[in-house]
């Protein structure tokens, strides 16, 4: 089960994700990230506070979106990934790629 809620705060698109990001739900996240980029948002905040689980499928969507957006001189930043999500980022050697913030507000104002 996944819930995705997007809001635009100034020039930043904030995508809040709730639930599991796995092989059955990751494409929904991927689509939302894609459509925000297509809509012209180069500053993305992905709020992972309520993401209880992420697998390689989720990681792939994150990497995909990051690659796209950084080629457009934008960035994708994260809010409070859980210890478990941080662990998979670290094992994949991606923990120093994404800037991480403790709140949405902090992430948004970092741009």
């Amino acid at each position: 089960m996944i819930e995705i809620l997007t809001s635009v705060q100034g020039s930043v698109a904030v995508i809040e994700v709730k639930g599991r990001v796995d092989s059955t739900t990751a494409s929904q996240l991927g689509e939302e990230l894609s459509s925000q980029i297509t809509a012209g948002h180069r500053f993305l905040v992905l709020d992972l506070v309520t993401v209880e689980y992420m697998s390689s499928a989720g990681l792939r969507e994150l990497v995909n979106a990051y690659k796209k957006i950084t080629r457009l001189a934008g960035d994708l930043r994260l809010v409070q990934p859980s210890e478990r999500v941080e662990e998979i980022l670290a094992i994949a050697g991606l923990d120093s790629v994404f800037q991480v913030f403790s709140s949405q507000a902090a992430a948004v104002s970092s741009f």
């Binding site: 092989s23 697998s55 990497v63 998979i88 994949a92």
Partner: protein, 263 residues
């Protein structure tokens, strides 16, 4: 505590979640921490996803994934069998995690996570079935929490207590034995039988607990007997001369009889 549980799903994406729930429950029952449970959840999710996405040319209700979770001693074994085309995930090359993100390929992370998060991963193909075997060891500290609750106690009126520890009596669990013994002595049960039938390993800390219990019981004019020792434990006691200190009985019943007859 041991168990073996089985679960089968038709190899379809919408069934992966129930397979994961099955494994999560088994991992929790095995006493894994939330991190360990997550690792097992992730491993099975990744394995099933790969099987479903790549293992079958044609979708059919006969495409099955069979998952077995077996827990014994301190190891959880997760076996994932499928009747898809032969495929050895252990041969998949790891993604290069030193590459800059821009150069990263998107594939291979699922198997990579399985290999990194499970303690042992092996594969075989036999009888037209792919069989992936994943092992996760349960750390001793967590094991201790299970064992502390598994100090069974049987009362034999009027004042005999039989204490039955389950599993290893190592440095972490000896305190649970000591608590159980002290509790019985404080309750006036000064004749104790420690039934070691389920104990395969006895640490020096536990031996000290047993000797101390023997001394304390004697002070109360009671006695501590040991019974049902396995051959290795018997040999251990004998090698340090404790078989000359403790009265060791072959069965619980003979130990009970011995205590009753001394009156």
């Amino acid at each position: 505590m041991s168990f073996e549980r089985h679960f089968k799903i038709a190899a379809q994406m919408q069934n992966i979640a129930s397979a994961c729930d099955f494994v999560i429950n088994a991992a929790r029952a095995a006493g894994l921490s939330e991190q360990g449970v997550y690792h097992c959840h992730l491993a099975v999710d990744e394995a099933c996803t790969n099987i479903i996405e790549h293992g079958f040319l044609v979708s059919s209700p006969e495409n099955i994934i069979h998952i077995i979770c077996a827990f014994h001693e301190d190891t959880l074994t997760i076996v994932i069998e499928d009747n898809g085309k032969p495929f050895d995930p252990t041969q998949v090359q790891d993604p290069d995690i030193t590459l800059d993100i821009q150069e990263r390929q998107l594939g291979g992370y699922g198997v990579f996570f399985i290999k990194r998060f499970m303690d042992e991963v092996s594969y075989e193909h036999a009888d037209e079935v792919n069989r992936l075997v994943l092992l996760k060891h349960v750390p001793i500290e967590k094991f201790d929490t299970i064992l502390a609750a598994q100090m069974d106690i049987l009362q034999v009126p009027p004042s005999i207590s039989v204490i039955i520890p389950v599993g290893a009596l190592d440095a972490n669990t000896s305190h649970a034995l000591r608590s159980a013994i002290e509790n019985e002595l404080n309750n006036g049960h000064k004749d104790l039988i420690i039934d070691l039938r389920d104990v395969q390993f006895l640490s020096s800390a536990s031996l000290k607990v047993l000797v101390r219990a023997w001394q304390q019981a004697r002070e109360e004019l009671g006695e501590v007997l040991l019974c049902c020792l396995s051959q290795p434990i018997r040999a251990l006691m004998s090698s340090i001369g404790l078989d000359l200190v403790f009265t060791i009985m072959p069965t619980r019943q003979s130990a009970i009889e011995r205590l009753k007859n001394k009156k």
